[in-house]
Point group: C2
Chain length 327, copies 2
């Protein structure tokens, strides 16, 4: 019966969360009962979409939920053996027992790093893939804009658009990230919105307008994109990170969707699970060929999880933000 440390939300943050909104709690983890497994988490994922759940959705004084990758350390289940790797939604804790519901066995590709299964080759990458191809209905050679293009989802979306022969503009908020997008990823135009206001920068960067906008930001980025949308353009709305802490700013020019007959659609990855097989095949190939690049920021130990989430919301990460919980 191992000790398990976990992160609780103890206070709903107003604005940017602080470490005082969370507590590290140590508990005795139960052993696996009949039909159950005991899982030790190795890595946990930290995602922007966790912020809205702090305001509503996440129970107070319970372990937070989130994507994680664990290893079965005890098994009284026919479905899993000791040593199996399992994707789960029980992040923010070191150990947990499960009857197997919500666990997905992972057979990692030996030619790829284990952590890539938690981002580019996991739900993060799938969100980008389906958001761009299914929700955004991307066609070869179109004009594409991706916000937070250096982020875990945005960087995959931007690179898939490049693979599909599109002209791709990405926005980001630091010189380092802009440089990575320009020099390593090879986007056609990169906007550092902290240097040039997004509206002006986007107008200059999109001489042929925008056919597909993959939106992670909302607010001023969405307004700037609405001004540039081409007729029958599509906006795949993955997130509105600009409003998660400060409240969402109103969108003043939504009427442009009438004149240009634009579609906006909010989505989550589970809206297009029928594409998961295609995604795994395509993305495995792109990663092995080096056509999809990625960055990771990995913090160490469960105690660092609140700091990882706060850092993510402040843009302190490069690429996917993970916390390593065990070897």
């Amino acid at each position: 019966m191992p000790k398990s440390r976990e992160i609780h939300l103890t206070k709903r943050p107003s604005g940017m969360p602080t470490e005082g909104d969370f507590a590290l709690v140590e508990r005795d983890s139960a052993d696996a009962a009949d039909g159950e497994v005991l899982v030790q988490n190795l890595y946990m994922s930290v995602d922007p979409a966790m912020r809205p759940r702090l305001t509503a959705g996440q129970e107070l004084n319970e372990a937070m939920m989130g994507g994680a990758l664990g290893r079965v350390v005890q098994s009284k289940s026919d479905a899993f053996g000791v040593g199996d790797l399992v994707s789960n939604r029980m992040g923010f804790r070191e150990y947990f027992t499960s009857d197997g519901k919500g666990l997905t066995k992972l057979n990692p590709d030996p030619d790829l790093s284990l952590t890539v299964h938690m981002h580019a080759l996991g739900m993060t990458g799938f969100t980008a893939y389906g958001g761009l191809l299914h929700i955004g209905q991307l066609k070869e050679g179109e004009q594409v804009f991706v916000s937070t293009a250096a982020g875990a989802v945005g960087s995959v979306a931007a690179q898939i658009a490049k693979i599909k022969g599109c002209y791709v503009v990405g926005s980001t908020g630091s010189e380092d990230k802009a440089r990575w997008l320009r020099d390593e990823v090879g986007l056609d135009a990169v906007i550092d919105y902290k240097v040039t206001p997004i509206r002006k920068a986007l107008q200059e960067a999109t001489p042929k307008g925008i056919d597909v906008y993959f939106d992670n930001v909302g607010g001023d980025h969405l307004e700037a994109a609405l001004r540039r949308m081409n007729t029958l353009g599509r906006i795949a709305v993955c997130g509105f990170i600009s409003g998660y802490n400060s409240g969402h700013s109103p969108v003043s020019n939504l009427s442009n969707i009438i004149y240009s007959r634009v579609m906006l659609r909010g989505f989550v990855g589970t809206d297009f699970m029928h594409l998961y097989g295609d995604f795994q095949r395509d993305m495995t190939g792109w990663l092995k060929d080096g056509r999809v690049k990625y960055q990771e920021t990995i913090l160490d130990g469960i105690a660092a999880a609140p700091q990882a989430l706060i850092g993510l919301l402040q843009g302190a990460n490069s690429g996917k933000m993970l916390v390593k919980l065990a070897e």
Copy 2:
């Protein structure tokens, strides 16, 4: 060579247009040259979408454009004979010559009034039909909200939704219109937003939320609907009449499209012309069966056209606003 009177836009209105923004101009109409026809307009259509064109799109000191129904009075064309009825986009004038481009020969149904071809059985009705079924992807039995439900487009949309077995809520801005929607059309719930604020009224009228919102209004109606959208709901955006005169008010809760994975899509009727045959067959049947009811407000004479447009924008019409130009 008849005299033709026509309406020019002489000044771009700020806010609600006034009669002083328009001028009635008399011109000599040319006779039909070889390959041409001379058309006398019988009826012209007045539509909310004309308002944005007064701000940008409509040339100053030229005859305004708009849908009309005319009769060929001279023909030197093989395609049209004298007496043919033709739909055209050359409203706001009594006579015009044409080489036939942009004219569509109309074979009116003898069992229906001629004017119905200018609304329920014309582009107005088609906009409602395709907006609801194609853009809104309406399914039998869903929860539906239609704004300006007593208007020319809205009333058709609301009735098609009823025919498809849906629970239908309509909003309107007068007691007379609310009564017509309740007693004649038979909607499940009718909101008079001048009596009860739209947000409160819509919450009460949609206990099972909203699957499809057919939006003609934008602004506060759209915000109220966004609060009530069900998961994977669709918003077919036909117009934002609330902002046409006063400027569009910002939408503060667009983030709801993420949490409920909602689609918003702006459209015009020409986006789904492949459905026109289906529409004509369905709508002809529904009109003959009395399953689609309509109202008309018909003003008399070209000089009344500015007043007709202003009245429409002020909600003075019941149903389709037309101007009769000749017998």
